[in-house]
């Protein structure tokens, strides 16, 4: 046990050093410059997408409830963080059509409490949505949560005194750096892992496996579904808050259904019911989103011109999803987790196979 603790600590310190290097914290101290801002930005997006995928996986993959409301809760988190971290001058510049209501106008909080409040606001709204919606099952729940997310978005678009309506918010303080995004992803992962390993996590999984049997074993279905939904939405709100600070500008159009779809794609690709799968898939999807920009650009090959088609990336992702659903319905990891023992096992098998091949040269 203590040996594992030592190993984990060593890994943690090494990762922290790399993060410090990438983030440019070693520049003043040792004169080592940080990583390119483009690379840092991609890592930031990876971490935020990991938070979003992990949280959606809790409801969809572990509790077996088909929820499509993630974008709505992200929007709540993003707006909460933005409104709580912008100072009065920044707010006055943005709210030139309809002034912001008074207590919010001169309220400015540090980033951490704003981020936590973003999660809490999203979580409380999820209870409002969950109480009626979680009585439904399967596809019906998906449709209901999708509808509620759109309602949240439309409210944001229309309560101009608070959200500035369709104009959105600009000049959100860019507080977020690698420490915030990777730190949030790490805390989110630890929290979900602990929780899923506990008796509550087993109750969630039993609901996924068989609702009737779970209830017959004394599990309060409604309470546990609501709990899962709350924790999931809390982290969706935190993810939205991180995104707002990273982008420094948000508007209601960003939080339409395709955003939920992108997170869902990540969850399915990584494996419903696998935390490490969600993290790996978040990395892959975020990286490909950037890498595939190539296909949307105009190419000139000598006299031939291939015009770029905006949105072609999403076509490729949709095709990828079709391929995954048809040939790998369990995703990359299924419902297993990536562990040190697991990696050792795979490496051992590969080595053994190589040895067999090497042993028969003739």
């Amino acid at each position: 046990m203590s040996r594992h603790l030592k190993r984990d600590l060593v890994i943690l310190v090494c990762v922290a050093l790399v993060v410090a290097w990438a983030n440019g914290d070693l520049k003043d101290l040792l004169g080592i410059p940080g990583w390119q801002s483009y690379a840092v930005r991609i890592i930031n997006m990876c971490a935020i997408n990991a938070v979003l995928a992990l949280s959606l996986n809790l409801v969809n993959g572990f509790t077996g409830q088909f929820s499509l409301g993630h974008a709505g809760f992200m929007a709540l988190g993003a707006y909460t963080t933005a409104l709580l971290t912008m100072d009065m001058a920044a707010k006055d510049r943005v709210f030139f059509m309809t002034p912001l209501v008074e207590p919010l106008r001169n309220l400015t909080l540090p980033f951490l409490p704003a981020l936590v409040l973003a999660g809490i606001v999203a979580g409380l709204f999820s209870l409002l949505v969950g109480v009626p919606a979680l009585r439904l099952r399967g596809d019906y729940l998906g449709i209901a949560t999708l509808g509620f997310a759109e309602i949240i978005r439309l409210i944001i678009q229309n309560v101009r005194k608070v959200t500035n309506g369709a104009l959105g918010l600009k000049g959100i303080p860019p507080v977020v750096n690698l420490w915030w995004t990777l730190g949030s992803a790490f805390v989110c992962y630890l929290m979900l892992r602990n929780f899923l390993a506990s008796s509550y996590g087993r109750a969630f999984k039993s609901i996924r496996e068989n609702e009737t049997a779970a209830q017959a074993m004394g599990i309060d279905l409604f309470k546990h579904k609501l709990l899962s939904f709350f924790i999931s939405s809390f982290w969706a709100g935190v993810g939205g808050g991180l995104l707002a600070s990273l982008l420094t500008t948000i508007d209601p159009v960003q939080f339409k259904f395709p955003l939920t779809f992108q997170v869902l794609l990540t969850v399915v690709l990584g494996g419903m019911g696998s935390l490490s799968g969600s993290i790996i898939a978040a990395g892959i999807v975020t990286y490909l989103m950037e890498f595939l920009r190539v296909v949307e650009e105009t190419h000139y090959w000598g006299s031939i011109t291939i015009p770029g088609i905006p949105g072609l990336r999403m076509v490729i992702f949709s095709l990828a999803l079709v391929v995954v659903v048809v040939w790998y319905p369990k995703g990359l990891m299924g419902d297993r987790e990536l562990t040190v023992a697991g990696i050792k096992g795979v490496l051992g098998r590969v080595r053994q196979r190589l040895r067999i091949k090497g042993g028969r040269p003739a």
Binding site: F195, S198, S199, R202, S206, A213, A216, G218, D220, L227
Partner: protein, 255 residues
């Protein structure tokens, strides 16, 4: 008297699945509920456990009215059940299947579980040892870490019974536990049921399709056909009742 069902009627639209059903169970009894396919046996179970609220009638458990109460609350009051078609949590381990049944007694809150604090860890440890103890008593401790879905059929049946026992019931409802078993396996299972009844001090209501399976271990048998009780009494009495023979074999028509 532990369970009392008075004048129960269950109607689905125009179909009366069970009508005027009366049954009382005494502490420690083992009663068989038999009848042909579609007689309404499982419906009786579903009404007792709160899956359906009866159209008419009342159900009391130790004097307490439980008519139409939510299934998880009925379980907490002391009625556990198994299912006709096995409903294990198949992707979870054998051990976890038992631990789920212990969840409703958990005193640690959400924050204790999130932080894995001392209070939670102590409770988790005692749950684990309790689950292991239960598995040992049904000879499944050797496969505690295997996925429940990978067990052979007979073991899955035993695991389902063990999972129901883990909720610490006073009354156990078994829905065709011997379904799909050959005669030798059925006899083995009935011995097992007799044993756990003694060990756990249970009252058991047992649904069975084949009469000879329940003959050996039931004190009383109730025969249901087309939603109505057509006979009740000791196994010997019931097996000689012409109405029962008729229900099972049909009437011989004389030319």
């Amino acid at each position: 008297m532990i369970l009392d069902i008075r004048g129960m009627k269950m109607q689905f639209g125009g179909l009366v699945a069970v009508n005027d059903f009366n049954l009382s169970l005494e502490h420690g009894e083992l009663v068989g509920l038999i009848g042909p396919n579609g007689a309404g046996k499982t419906t009786v179970f579903n009404v007792i456990t709160g899956v359906y609220a009866p159209t008419e009638g009342a159900i009391t458990l130790e004097g307490r009215d439980i008519t139409g109460m939510r299934p998880d609350l009925v379980t907490r009051l002391g009625i556990a059940r198994t299912f006709q078609n096995i409903r294990l949590f198949s992707r979870m381990s054998v051990m976890e299947n038992i631990l789920v049944s212990l969840h409703w007694r958990l005193k640690s809150g959400v924050f204790d579980a999130l932080t894995q604090n001392g209070k939670y860890r102590a409770e988790e440890a005692s749950m684990q040892s309790r689950a292991m103890d239960l598995l040992a008593r049904v000879n499944l401790d050797g496969v505690a870490d295997s996925p429940a879905g990978s067990l052979p059929y007979g073991s899955q049946r035993r695991l389902e019974i063990c999972r129901a026992l883990a909720t610490e019931p006073k009354l156990l409802l078994l829905d065709e536990p011997a379904a799909g078993m050959n005669p030798a396996e059925s006899i083995e299972l009935m011995k097992f049921i007799g044993r756990i009844r003694e060990e756990f001090g249970l009252t058991i209501l047992l649904i069975e399709h084949q009469m000879r399976v329940v003959m050996g271990i039931s004190e009383r048998i109730v025969v249901l056909d087309h939603g109505v009780i057509i006979s009740r009494g000791t196994p010997r009495e019931v097996s000689r009742d012409p109405r029962v023979i008729e229900a099972y074999l049909g009437v011989e028509k004389h030319a």
